[in-house]
Symmetry: C2
Subunit: 413 residues, 2 copies
């Protein structure tokens, strides 16, 4: 059953290549309108999902749809339709023998996305895949299954009106067996992108026989250099930690040069208003003791470094040099987003060059790591790997390329 869905998706991918960008955009806009028109049906399906979940569950809010949220989903889809096509000629060479060698971007073909109880992801993934000429195979969370089915039904009705195979947006059953079949579908599915908790991502990486782009875990640092503007450091640390604590770009550890100890209490002061618990190492604890609410101040344990808190908590590590800061980040960072606050150009330059992470900030918080904020127009996830796509990825990350070689009978000696 799931095998047949995947084979149908594979077959549909060939015909999808013949759609022009104009046709693709028109269908996306029509789908956006149809989603808004189907608001009542989608909310009714969503109510079924909600009825199965305890409202106290932190996932409840993410699962809940409203007319406004559906309008937002439709607006995002129209936005994707407005983006330039990612199908472009990358380069072209004419060889001395007359062969014309072009590299053109092409969709992967069939992209599987495994996600959790967020019904908006169903529409987002379809838009980005369809825009880029990829078939989407959607494996959503069980908790959101009725909502996902209602959204996909709207997509299918629009595709049907245009004579397009509904398999270009394939929703798998929300079962573990469907996931296992998807992960084994090497040669049928071209790429899998897991979106969600680190346990989901770890399990996909371990089991998948299909190539995977990992998104997810961010253990993010902010290094406050001896040359830092400490008022800027205060605002950056506060923004990076408290803007939204549940997201992967939130701050986990401030790495503080001992030269700024005199300002450390002032730097941390705004954090107390959000009840941020600070796990301070020995030297910074001594500085903060008596200057930060004692109910929020803890002595750091070894495991506080390298932890993605995803809550109102952070660690502080003291260093006496840039080298020591780089060493700490190299050891405990997850390669997601790292930042430095410094006025010294050499420090900014060395930090930018030597930190091995997808996004490296100077004098700005890691909060900015996001496809829309980076000007990509959308985001399918934030890649934490080095192969293919790194950091926020949108349409370009869903493309591979091929070489097209045109000759007139040249043979090779």
């Amino acid at each position: 059953m799931v095998e047949k869905q995947l084979l149908d998706a594979r077959r549909a991918s060939h015909r999808l290549l013949r759609l022009t960008d104009e046709e693709t955009n028109a269908i996306l806009i029509e789908t956006a309108d149809a989603l808004v028109a189907a608001t009542d049906d989608i909310l009714a399906a969503n109510a079924l999902d909600l009825s199965r979940m305890d409202p106290a569950n932190p996932k409840y809010d993410r699962l809940k749809l409203t007319p406004d949220r559906i309008a937002g989903i439709a607006a995002d889809m129209r936005n994707v339709a407005s983006l330039p096509s990612p199908r472009v000629e990358i380069d072209r060479r004419v060889r001395p023998n007359g062969l014309v060698i072009r590299r053109v971007s092409v969709p992967f073909g069939v992209i599987g996305v495994i996600y959790e109880a967020r019904p908006n992801v169903t529409a987002d993934v379809f838009s980005l895949c369809f825009k880029s000429g990829n078939v989407s195979v959607l494996k959503g969370g069980h908790d959101a299954d009725d909502s996902s089915r209602a959204i996909v039904a709207v997509i299918h009705s629009v595709l049907g009106r245009h004579g397009i195979d509904p398999a270009v947006a394939t929703l798998l059953p929300a079962t573990r067996e469907a996931t296992d079949t998807l992960l084994a579908a090497r040669g049928i599915v071209d790429l899998i992108i897991p979106r969600g908790s680190s346990s989901l991502i770890d399990s996909v990486r371990e089991k998948s026989r299909v190539p995977v782009i990992e998104t997810g875990a961010g253990v993010c640092h902010c290094y406050i250099d001896a040359s830092a503007d400490t008022a800027m450091a205060r605002d950056i640390i506060n923004n990076a930690k408290t803007r939204r604590v549940s997201v992967c770009n939130a701050l986990d550890c401030a790495v503080v040069h001992s030269a700024v100890f005199g300002s450390l209490a002032a730097i941390c002061e705004p954090l107390a208003a959000s009840e941020v618990i600070i796990h301070a190492d020995e030297r910074s604890y001594a500085v903060l003791d008596g200057h930060y609410p004692s109910r929020l101040l803890r002595r750091a344990e070894a495991e506080d470094f390298g932890t993605e808190f995803l809550s109102y908590a952070m660690a502080i590590k003291t260093v006496d040099s840039l080298d020591e800061a780089l060493e700490h980040i190299s050891l405990y960072g997850s390669g997601h987003s790292e930042s430095v606050v410094a006025a010294d150009d050499t420090v900014k330059e060395r930090f930018s060059t030597e930190v091995d992470a997808a996004c490296v900030y100077t004098n700005a918080p890691t909060s900015w790591t996001d496809g829309a904020q980076f000007g990509l127009g959308a985001e399918i996830g934030i890649s934490t790997q080095k192969m293919h796509a790194r950091g926020p990825m949108a349409l370009e990350g869903l493309m591979t390329y091929k070489w097209l070689i045109a000759g007139n009978g040249q043979i090779r000696s």
Copy 2:
């Protein structure tokens, strides 16, 4: 022991980032000179390897070094030094809030290459990795171990003169245990590229916990359309099949439109001079019977389609339409190189668009799939996957990128 070598390699990768392209090139040129100067030592080591191998072994010729071959290895290294640096700014955006967001290409860090008994690969991999700012971890074949050690000794002596950590070119013991340790080194090694037989590549893909770029197997087709210039088809088929039968871009199956049956004997005629065995399907067998040497003509079995022959043998499949040809290639191709001979522009266009392979040729043989022939200046392998790099890959394929975000205290609401 191997674990320590890998940790040393990781550590060396940080310092390698500080070398400029000029310094890198100077060291490569000096190494090329040193390899030529060390010809006697390298040949003596190579003689030890050769003494352990039966001269009748087909690998013997690949293993054997000569003064000319060493000069060739050195020339390739000088050539890599002459290539433009792959460390470039990819794009730059200035956001409305003033954030300057740049994407710059950066080396992966530590790249492991697993290969067989070809001593020249040791030098090639080092050049491309070093030029691109990557540490190379070399796991060569046991048969070539003395030769590899002699080459790496020369590299280390030059690195030593420049105060560069020899771990930037790390040669692992030629043992299976070393391979296993390398494949498990997730987080220490950034990328593994296996080069060699498909069994080597399959085993690396199955076992590796480190990201892999697969190179290798090519089941290559040439479709002769009804609109083909049959004299061109004859030359292309002959070149693709007989230029070098042991390489991945060699032809495995001619897909022949029945409309050209009248010319099929003429198309195949030059193949007989190279004693090419043709495994013909029923319809093409009937056409060739009596017009191709009977000792070289076989009836195709099912397993002849989808086979990479790597020998003087090929299959013929008859079709009655472009669609049938595309279907056959989609089913049996390995995504490496495919070609069409046709005069009809629609056929060329549809073939180029719809064939899902790294390299798609019109009116030229698959023999051209090669980094140097494509104008890349070098080649580390031919990727048969869609992620990251596809087809011939050289310096660009050894790079990832990172986002550098420069602010002056912008916080996100």
